[in-house]
């Protein structure tokens, strides 16, 4: 390729990533300003203008379900409309599981006699907090290595030295963010619309190889020094099951672009943290008088078990 392209390559990629991200954060419906959970068993929808009372208070105009279970519709007990006719509060029979996003589907919204079209609204608790909880969750609380037991081959293979561990962790984080975003894009805009879900595995693993190749090429051209430091780990990335687990999880949970980004970044950084801790521990254990039959991998497994025991402290934790 011509040399002239080189400086534009990286910004271009950033731009594409930005566009992908923007696609994910479009408003649910232009007439809806905000949706929030109210109390333990209510959802409030705030509209941009006044809505008709006859439409708003009719229970049959709203269907609500938890995002992972579209088949179970929640029973709406009561609907109340605020005095300025902007706010509609749906009260439910049972308490809502607010850790899960809920989907509210409405019929044609009617405002001052006009029809504004139906809306599919996603209600989430404290959106930034939700993103943060995905991020922290993937990074620490349900760390992929110590609580989900994924990526172990690479984890044990590259945690012998601190320098190797950090190199691997950084490389892995880069690749997983790139590949997860591409996977999200393909899943949302190709696989799902064309009902090709069953090709998930083939497509995702293909994407991973592709992004490994892409990062390889870009690094080699843009920053040869960095490539020299991290290039060796690129091959290993593909053998790490976290890299395929993350796209599968974000497809399963129907995450949007931001959520996917958080999950991917959290998983990558969580792997980096796990690697760093493990490598610093193993460097110390190198000096220890470990029984000969346990030297090397066996003792690393025992230590990882101790880590997992400690991480049990996070079980049952939900931040937001």
């Amino acid at each position: 390729m011509g040399n002239a392209h080189r400086p534009y390559l990286f910004p271009l990629l950033l731009l594409i990533a930005g566009l992908v991200l923007l696609a994910g954060c479009g408003s649910d419906h232009r007439f809806v300003k905000k949706t929030t959970f109210e109390d333990a068993n209510a959802i409030t929808i705030e509209f941009a203008g006044p809505v008709d009372a006859s439409w708003a208070t009719d229970k049959s105009n709203f269907t609500v379900y938890e995002k992972p279970d579209p088949d179970i519709l929640l029973t709406i007990q009561d609907i109340s409309l605020g005095p300025d006719q902007h706010r509609v509060t749906l009260t439910f029979q049972d308490d809502l599981n607010q850790d899960q996003p809920h989907v509210v589907t409405t019929t044609d919204i009617r405002s001052q006699g006009r029809s504004i079209g139906p809306a599919v609204l996603t209600v989430k608790k404290l959106y930034m907090g939700y993103l943060l909880s995905i991020f922290i969750g993937a990074m620490v609380i349900s760390n992929f290595v110590f609580t989900k037991y994924l990526g172990l081959c690479v984890f044990f293979g590259t945690s012998q030295r601190k320098s190797t561990a950090v190199g691997m962790g950084i490389t892995f984080t880069m690749v997983i963010v790139v590949s997860a975003m591409m996977a999200w894009f393909l899943y949302q805009f190709v696989l799902k619309p064309y009902r090709l879900d069953f090709l998930q595995i083939v497509v995702f693993i293909g994407l991973v190889s592709l992004s490994v190749q892409a990062v390889d090429t870009i690094l080699r051209k843009v920053n040869p020094a960095l490539f020299k430091a991290f290039g060796v780990y690129l091959v290993l990335v593909i053998a790490n099951c976290i890299i395929i687990a993350v796209p599968l999880i974000l497809a399963d949970n129907e995450y949007n672009a931001f959520e996917s980004l958080m999950l991917a970044a959290g998983a990558g950084l969580g792997f980096l943290i796990a690697l760093f801790l493990m490598s610093s521990v193993r460097e110390r254990l190198d000096l220890a008088n470990v029984p000969p039959t346990f030297r090397g991998l066996p003792i690393a497994f025992v230590v990882a078990g101790l880590f997992a025991l400690a991480f049990l402290g996070f079980s049952g934790m939900s931040i937001f």
């Binding site: 460097e283 110390r284 254990l285 000969p292 025991l309 400690a310 049952g316 931040i319």
Partner: protein, 357 residues
Amino acid sequence: MEADKPIQQEEKSSAVEETRHNMLTVSVSPHIKSRESVEKIMWSVVACLVPPLILSVFVFGLQTLIITLISVASCVAAEAVSQKLLKRPVTIRDGSAVITGLLMAYVIPPGVPYWIPILGAVMAIYVAKHLLGGIGFNIFNPALIGRAFLMATFPVAMTSAWLPPLRDAAIFTYMGQGVDAVSTATPLYVLKHYGVQALMEQFGSMSTIYRDFFMGLRPGCIGETSAFLLLLGGIFLIYKRYITWHIPVSVIVSVAFFTWIFGGDTLFTGNPLLAVLSGGVMLGAFFMATDYVTSPTQMTAKLIFGAGIGALTVLIRIKGGYPEGVCYAILLMNPLVPALEGWFKPKRFAPPKGALK
């Protein structure tokens, strides 16, 4: 199954040549050494841990003594057996296994079956300590690993065998009784699930609560209840310079601080004093987080380590699946110690240029 001779043995014997020659000892300087020794430190810690045990006998009954003795005995036995198996010198006299046994017993509920600590001892001493190279190389606090193991193995007993304090010192009350008949809820459990109002209904007015909790008249683990006695022991250890103030103070301050911010219904309304008195904070701060092997050596690192423990404790208490989080918080900070040691090194005396990386 580890019948092999540790390979370092040879290195060691050549490294330390202490010979007696014409009845005169020849060895490398210094020829005088301080009077302190590992044994002295360890047995001092044991001594500081005895008063809470005596109190718990009067508060929870005689079976706490039996549980503690079984725990200590099984830890010492596990240490001796592990060291024999691994062909290492048996060092049960140094008291470290006794401390492990005591601490493990102190963080389990007073109404558990007597044999429970035996399993914990195997995990704590053999797996968490001797497989990793013996004292000095155990990355995690063995007593807490033992407790976490028991927690995972006997979740019901370990989270429900709480006993209401005896007010009449009738120490045989709970002996041989089924636990279910008398079990109660710990203050932190009540606080987490029902709030301060329920706590006051169960334990009386706020001033009564502070007084009782400070003295140790409350449901809780065997050795964690009496903030007063633990504080006394901890101050003695600080006075003897066996531990420094950094870790205990930073743990307690950060628990209080984060509870104050996040512990209430809204921000900045938590009750820091209650948080410090009602769980295992005192025991953890003075006796567990300060374990030499599993805590950093540099002062800044100690402060960070302690603050991390406090923050994680509050996080687990408020957001986690358990009402109390001190033990897990310490376990989660333990593996950070080698990294902290790498980040915070002693300040070198004018090192030659280029010698520091």
